[in-house]
């Protein structure tokens, strides 16, 4: 859905759903995941339907993820950090 317009140099390594991803520094978690083709960030707690980033400016709360063990984090507001551990928020989590 999205691609980088230019190639970057400096990267950090983040862990998304148990997999290592090398992503460019200075961007938010939401944009780092979108570039990798990850569009589903969570499922609706009501309907279970998939949800992903919408407003990209911290207003809509659609892109909530679990980051470093803290749930309900706005992925569009949080810059990527080395060794950040990110999980999707699923309705029926085992």
């Amino acid at each position: 859905m999205f691609k980088k317009q230019y190639e970057s140099h400096e990267t950090v390594s983040i862990i998304f759903e148990g997999k290592n991803l090398d992503v460019e520094i200075g961007q938010t978690v939401a944009s780092a995941l979108l570039v990798g083709g990850n569009m589903v960030f969570r499922s609706s707690v009501v309907s279970g339907q998939p949800r992903g980033p919408y407003c990209m400016m911290g207003v809509c709360f659609e892109c909530l993820l679990e980051i470093d063990g803290i749930p309900n984090q706005r992925a569009c507001m949080i810059p990527v950090r080395e060794a950040m551990e990110i999980k999707r928020q699923q309705k029926n989590k085992e």
Binding site: T28, F41, R51, Y54
Partner: protein
Amino acid sequence: MNSIRAPKFDYIIIGAGPAGMAAAITARAHGLSVLVLDEQPSAGGQIFRNIESLEATRNSEFSKLGQEYEFGSSLVRRFKKCGADYFTDRSVWQIDKNLQIHHVSASASKSNSVNSHCQAKRLLIAVGAMERPMPLPGWTIPGVMPCTAVDVLYKSSGLIPDGEVVLAGSGPLLLLIGCRLLDVGVHVSAFLDTSMNGALLKALPLLPNALRSHKYLTRGLSLLWKIRKAGIPFYSGIQNIEALGTSKLEKVRIGKSGKSFDVTADLLLLHNGVVPNVQITRNLGCEHRWYDVQRYWEPIVDDWGNTSVDHVSIAGDCGRVAGAAISEVSGHLAALETVYQLGVISKVERDNLLNPDKEQKISFVEKCLGKTEGPIMAASDYMRMNSDQIRPYTNKSFYSLGTDGFGRSDTRKNLRKFFEVDKEHLVAYGLSVLAKEQLIASKYAKEAIKKYNIDGEKPMPTKL
């Protein structure tokens, strides 16, 4: 709430966009202590998002964004130098009635989620605008976004859409973003104009007014022309749009006059104008009204941005959406009002600073006393504070006498004598002042003190 005492500021500003930055610059120029709290990692707001790093590292793209960006980067530079305390990455989550403001890291992690609070004398809300949410069937499917989201992704991370893009809605921003997408080689597979049939006709009476700002009309037409020329299928009068897909967007169903057809799409970008972000003003209990022209709720403010809540004002697009240039001016305006309200400048000075090109106003006091010679002396049967209130309105040296302290007041005459505001003391003190200003020789003052039997050893009433 928290045992640590809140740091105090004259002026706390929420938001570091054009309005917030301008207000901080003006308030600092008048010596106020200023704290700016912003949710984003860098200054500039949404319009000038990430502008510093864009200019430094992606200069070729920066120049593509247009002249407005030169203005933005100079504003950011002046803001960074103005001496205001500036915290990035802070979300304001609570404002108490006494203007104690609680904020927390916007990007909370275990190490930095510490909650803090601070105390303001005056508060400026400059949190800007947001996309008008316009629900349509399937709008929660990943791959449906407002068009400004793409702008944010481009400015902050250099991302551009990949695959088939459909643009839908109305308004100038949609055209602008459509053209930017074409510039960077994105494939736009359809442009859906949802303006109602006959809207143009309805707007016709406004044309004479619009022609006065023909620059905007020309710009709009050139954007429209660019989209048409690029051969993008352009559908006007669209009544129904539906996003289809399971875990991601696959198709957009377009309905017009009872018929419908599908186009494949990876990204559907919506835009129906922007509305003020009124969360904070509503939570504070500021009065709002429905603005029918643009169809949104806006806080009710006076010319200076003051809301109905004491010491709380707003600036920029969180009041009435008008763009970066007007937001900057409204920030200066709100800050000057605060500088006046906090007693740093007089009302006349505030008005003069706002109208540097007009004839400068003169205060009533200055009109009365401006042409007199020598110092001004004020005497009152009340406390000195009473006459001191006119001190800021004149540029002359100002001496005030009053009845501060403890003492007798059995008769008015005794009171005046005790507090040294009777006619004898006024003459002697007046001559001393003139001698101090070297307008007469000091012997005249000494003579008067002797003549009127003024007791130099009598204790000061304020020291009793």
